[in-house]
């Protein structure tokens, strides 16, 4: 496993930008900034307004990441789990789970909790606890990184 440095100041700055992004999206077009819903909305053959604003958001997300990545060196510090099969299983579970549960870290974790949604508070507690248990089992019981 890769050791990462605890970076609270960068965390606070990044978190503030994420919050600002969520507030802007709600203030202007009245939408929840949930990566799950926005991504799901692109998997369609109906290219209407509901598709188009989501596409614009994802284009912004990609440009914002690429541009910031240029001066934070994010591209070089990124580190993945070593087994590609685990990445495939992870991707399948994340895709199916966020679709069934109707949200992820951004939609439930940030936007849902911020509007005091009981569903989001519960979903966030569930995915946090399950993810912590998963990492504990993978790293400390099975001993794989």
């Amino acid at each position: 496993m890769t050791i990462t440095e605890f970076t609270p100041y960068a965390g606070v700055l990044g978190g503030a930008l994420i919050g600002l992004a969520a507030v802007i999206l709600m203030a202007t077009v009245g939408r929840i900034m949930g990566a799950t819903g926005i991504f799901r909305g692109l998997l369609t053959t109906n290219f209407d307004e509901a598709f188009r604003w989501r596409l614009v958001f994802i284009v912004g997300l990609l440009i914002g990441t690429a541009w910031t990545g240029l001066f934070t060196g994010a591209a070089h510090s990124i580190s993945f789990v070593s087994n590609n099969y685990i990445i495939v299983i992870g991707g399948l579970l994340v895709g199916a789970g966020t679709t069934l549960g109707n949200g992820c870290t951004s939609g439930h974790g940030i936007c849902g909790i911020s509007r005091f949604s009981k569903r989001s508070v519960l979903a966030t507690c569930v995915f946090m606890v399950v993810a912590i248990i998963t990492v504990f089992i993978v790293r400390h019981i099975l001993g794989i990184s």
Binding site: V12, T68, A74, L93, L100
Partner: protein, 140 residues
């Protein structure tokens, strides 16, 4: 005008995920690893994000409607059911295995690593499979 603000929101989301290091799966996994390589950064990201969004939402909702739309598009369901809990649990399992959730996974595509591409491709398949289950909620 609408689209410029949506683009700005996306830009800031991407910048925030990148500056905070949340695009790096290793940082997520170390946050989840409470008894091992614990890295508490995620709590600072989420905490700050929550404070700003909660305060911002209060102001916006008081206004009654968004600037460039006739209404807020908010989820109306308040039902706590098996689907919500099972879905969240599946997501937690996938997140804990891979260190990726949807936003950072998509964002990380710009760095050009095959792992990002594999994950997002699998995520698309997972999403489409879940859609075959008739109880899946339709998007507005």
């Amino acid at each position: 005008m609408r689209k410029i603000f949506v683009l700005l929101s996306g830009l800031l989301f991407g910048a925030g995920l990148t500056i905070s290091g949340m695009v790096n799966p290793a940082k997520i996994l170390n946050f989840l690893d409470l008894t091992g390589q614990f890295d508490a950064t995620l709590i600072f990201v989420m905490g700050t994000g929550l404070i700003i969004t909660t305060l911002g939402y209060q102001l916006i909702f008081k206004r009654g409607k968004p600037f460039f739309d006739t209404e807020f598009h908010l989820p109306t369901s308040e039902i706590i059911d098996t689907k919500l809990i099972a879905g969240a649990a599946m997501f937690g399992l996938g997140w804990g295995l891979s260190g990726f959730c949807p936003g950072p996974a998509i964002a990380s595509l710009v760095f050009g690593y095959q792992q990002s591409l594999i994950f997002v491709a699998a995520m698309i398949v997972g999403t489409l499979l879940a859609r075959l289950i008739p109880v899946t909620t339709k998007l507005d």
